[in-house]
Amino acid sequence: MPQPVQYRGMSLIIPDNDTEWKEFYAHARAHRLVVRKCAACGLLRYPPTHACPWCMALGWSWREVSGRGTIYSYEIVHHAIQPGFRELTPYAVVLVELDEQRGQPTPDESLRIIGNLLRPDLTPEADAEVAIGRRVRVVFQDLADHLALPQFTLTDEPPQGRVWRLPG
């Protein structure tokens, strides 16, 4: 089993038998964002799960996605719970809706993924820049030989829909 990765005071553990995440993070370390594609119905899913939530088929393959998307919702953490995040406050956590498979297979469903909003150099983005509707792309934060975290950074693409952030 690989050694736990120490990151901001947390032990991140991806054991050899972790059939959901191990390859996901190996791809991320090669700076590819991948999701699972069902071999039967072709729908993409995140997080990585063993069966297809729409057709229950077990067959799947990894499929690389563009890593481009829109901020669907967010939060600014002012009071960190994990001690290793205290020096980062305030920091932004974003819920990103990826461009692939938006509104499918039902209008309410989409590929959405959680990350921090960072500058391209992986330092925290100013919280005044965070808003629903703003466009982002994935960036990768390398943590170990077998592990990188997918994170997000703002792009200069025009926003998607109404841009809104919490006043104040």
Binding site: V77, L88, S110
Partner: protein, 404 residues
């Protein structure tokens, strides 16, 4: 729809002191809460033959609690889980009795939620390794309940124009109620301005939008309506129950929207269907207030107002004592103390008995002044039907309807 309406009752309720330094074990607290509930029901240890409890690796199991009180069990189960377990276990107790496995079930929750295992994820919990599904959120500094729920709350503000000030009325109302509750940890009334002026924890949650981590144990006792007639207090009948109803993609509910929809969307038809009533028939509610927003989201999802109008609804005065349908008359998790939902069921049982433990001199005899000034009464006059809206997280909830 299948229903066991009015066939089962809650006959005993009890709790320990609400504190932030219990200085004792969860075993000791659980034993005391169960004992209080047995005495409240007018029963003895021999009358209890079923036990259910819930916890998250932070408490004592039933096989240690029952023997301390001399209880021999025909059925017990220790369940993993937090909020929304209360109502679910009341339903399971009914099922166990209906199946003939046992006759009377004590349900408890005991936790040193401040002094030992803080709910917010600090203390012992913060040191746990991150693996499996936690990898999708925790490495990004998203671990506590508030951090896990905040994008749902914020998206509600985006979609419906809900404001911080509207939602702050939940805390103001519950603080008003707590000022009439001798047990409450926070008895001081606060204003909307106090809430929105308090420091940010995680947007859109201010400090005073968040509940109070607490050391406490609680217990409710469920038995059949026939047995309930032999118990000391006026029986409180269970009209309907829905337990741990979930949205699709409970693993990662962000994948299935609208993310502003909460589990009550699915639970409401189950619980109202069994009870044969609708929201207008309910006299008071216990809508889980881990945060101000959770109360608001559930009240609108269960149909007490239209979806999206929860902000206006909670700001209208309707949820305050003296209003049309008071919510969390004990002060709830925001002010009385945090018990993972149990205390809100206990409060509603006492309300339906007419014996809420407020500052009225003859409260225990059911004599109340109905003067809702600070330090006064918190009994709802002629309360007949009460509802609990249990919350675990946006995609998971439970519900319970009780009548006197």
């Amino acid at each position: 729809m299948k229903t066991l309406r009015d066939k089962y009752c809650i006959v005993g309720v009890g709790e320990t002191e609400y504190s932030r330094a219990s200085n004792r074990t969860t075993r000791a607290m659980a034993v005391e809460a169960v004992r209080h509930a047995i005495l409240d029901a007018g029963l003895t240890a021999r009358d209890i033959d079923g036990m259910l409890d819930y916890q998250g690796g932070d408490s004592t199991l039933a096989n240690h609690v029952a023997p301390d009180l001399g209880i021999r069990l025909n059925f017990y189960m220790d369940v993993m889980g937090g909020g929304s377990s209360t109502e679910a276990l009341i339903g399971l107790a009914m099922g166990a009795i209906e199946a003939g496995m046992c006759q009377t079930v004590a349900i408890y929750r005991s936790m040193n939620g401040y002094s030992e295992f803080r709910i917010g994820g600090t203390g012992a919990r913060a040191a746990q390794p991150v693996r499996g599904l936690d990898l999708a959120q925790v490495p990004f500094g998203m671990r506590s309940a508030g951090q896990n729920f905040a994008p749902t709350f914020l998206r509600h503000m985006y979609e419906y124009g809900t404001t911080s000030e509207q939602v702050a009325h939940v805390k103001a109302a519950h603080s008003k109620h707590a000022s009439q509750n001798p047990k409450a940890l926070l008895k001081e009334r606060v204003t909307v301005a106090d809430v929105v002026g308090s420091r940010w924890i995680v947007t859109p949650l201010h400090l005073l939008d968040c509940c109070l981590e607490t050391d406490n144990a609680t217990c409710v006792i469920v038995t059949s309506a026939e047995r309930a007639r032999a118990c000391r207090p006026r029986p409180v009948h269970i009209m309907g129950v829905a337990g741990r109803v979930s949205k699709p993609r409970l693993d990662f509910h962000w994948a299935h929207g609208p993310i502003t929809r909460v589990a009550g969307y699915y639970a409401k038809d189950i619980v109202f269907g069994q009870a044969g009533i609708g929201p207008d028939d309910v006299d008071l509610t216990g809508s889980y207030d881990a945060f101000t927003f959770t109360t608001m989201l559930q009240l609108e999802e269960y149909g007490f107002c239209k979806k999206g109008e929860g902000g206006q609804y909670v700001g209208s005065g309707v949820i305050e004592l003296g209003g049309r349908r008071p919510n969390n008359t004990s002060g709830g998790h925001l002010c009385e103390g945090y018990t993972h939902g149990m205390s809100m069921v206990i409060e509603n049982v006492r309300q339906l008995r007419g014996t809420v433990d407020d500052y009225c001199p003859k409260a225990a005899e059911g004599v109340h002044t109905y003067d809702y000034a600070p330090g006064g009464c918190r009994q709802v006059k002629d309360a007949e039907i009460a509802m609990n809206l249990g919350w675990a997280m946006p995609p998971l909830g439970s519900a319970l309807i009780l009548r006197r």
